[in-house]
């Protein structure tokens, strides 16, 4: 215990300096830095969604106008939710997807297609260096939603 106290004391000495800033100033500077990172991430998310839309256009040619409408509604929800999530300073993709998909009408006959589209998003995200644990979280979230809704879209490979 004494060793730990001495260790802390040594660190505290290192933190004393004529250049030390008030704590409130440090918070303000850190908030500015965080806002910049979040702004970049929103740009990144929008790019991700564009990729998803482009992939959908390439791979799904047989969609009806209603299916496309469901898809665009989901994409719109993702963008809106991302803007809200940014205010909390941490963007949680898995929680966001749950929110988005619960917003979609459970009776929507195209819901499983929407779920599959988000699985496509996972593929795109994987290419963009999302972490393995986050991909697993995403897949699990989608499987839970898919199971609750009784749809079949539930594998990372599935379209």
């Amino acid at each position: 215990m004494i060793e730990r106290d001495l260790y802390r004391l040594a660190l505290l000495r290192k933190c004393r300096s004529a250049d030390a800033l008030p704590l409130d100033d440090l918070v303000m500077r850190a908030n500015g830095a965080a806002a910049k990172v979040i702004g970049n991430y929103h740009d990144y998310l929008l790019m991700l969604l564009q990729d998803v839309e482009a992939t959908a256009r390439r791979k799904v040619s047989s969609w009806s106008p209603q299916t496309w409408a469901a898809f665009h509604r989901a994409v719109h929800d993702v963008k809106s939710s991302a803007a809200m999530a940014g205010e909390t300073f941490v963007f949680d993709f898995s929680r966001l997807l749950e929110t988005v998909l619960w917003r979609v009408d459970r009776a929507d006959p195209h819901l499983d297609i929407v779920i599959r589209l988000f699985l496509t998003a996972i593929h795109v995200a994987a290419d963009r260096s999302f972490a393995a644990a986050e991909l697993d979280d995403l897949q699990n979230a989608l499987l839970r939603i898919s199971s609750r809704l009784g749809t079949s879209g539930g594998t990372r490979q599935g379209y």
């Binding site: 060793e3 730990r4 260790y7 802390r8 660190l11 505290l12 290192k14 933190c15 004393r16 300096s17 250049d19 030390a20 800033l21 008030p22 704590l23 409130d24 440090l26 918070v27 500077r29 850190a30 908030n31 500015g32 830095a33 965080a34 910049k36 990172v37 979040i38 970049n40 991430y41 909390t88 300073f89 941490v90 963007f91 949680d92 260096s129 999302f130 972490a131 393995a132 644990a133 986050e134 697993d136």
Partner: protein
């Protein structure tokens, strides 16, 4: 003595987080606090290699890591008190706020525990607390 100013520039920080966004975000906050000696690791394995080579003063580690998680990391960190890194201050970061999680982390040697999502003021309050033992209330 009450600490109202602090200079982190002489301290070595290690941030262990596999999520790119969170790592960038927390790294940005730390640099905003004036941290200049910040190293980052995307896995516990990479972090241990880094720590063996150059022990940091303060470690921030996310719990939900794969294949080795943050709790196992704490065990490794504190396993041998003779190691030069064994006394490094460690802050565990996790999205779970249950008392079981917090007690487990503190029991394995975490000096503090932050629940995600968090703001810069919260992070700074925890850093000040682990270094000085002083509780500070900062307005965001």
């Amino acid at each position: 003595m009450i600490v109202s100013r602090i200079d982190f520039s002489a301290l070595d920080f290690l941030l262990i987080e596999e999520n790119n966004f969170v790592r960038e975000l927390v790294g940005g906050m730390l640099r905003g606090f004036g941290v200049t000696r910040l190293r980052e690791a995307r896995s516990i394995e990479a972090a241990m290699t880094d720590i063996e080579r150059h022990p940091p003063d303060i470690i921030l580690c996310d719990w939900m890591m794969k294949p080795t998680d943050g709790l196992s990391f704490l065990r490794k960190l504190r396993a041998d008190g003779a190691k030069p890194y064994a006394h490094a201050l460690a802050i565990m970061i996790n999205e779970h706020a249950s008392s079981d999680h917090i007690e487990a982390a503190l029991g394995e040697g975490a000096d503090s525990y932050i629940v995600k999502p968090f703001r810069a003021a919260t992070l700074l309050a925890h850093l000040v607390q682990v270094i000085t033992g002083q509780q500070v209330h900062l307005v965001d």
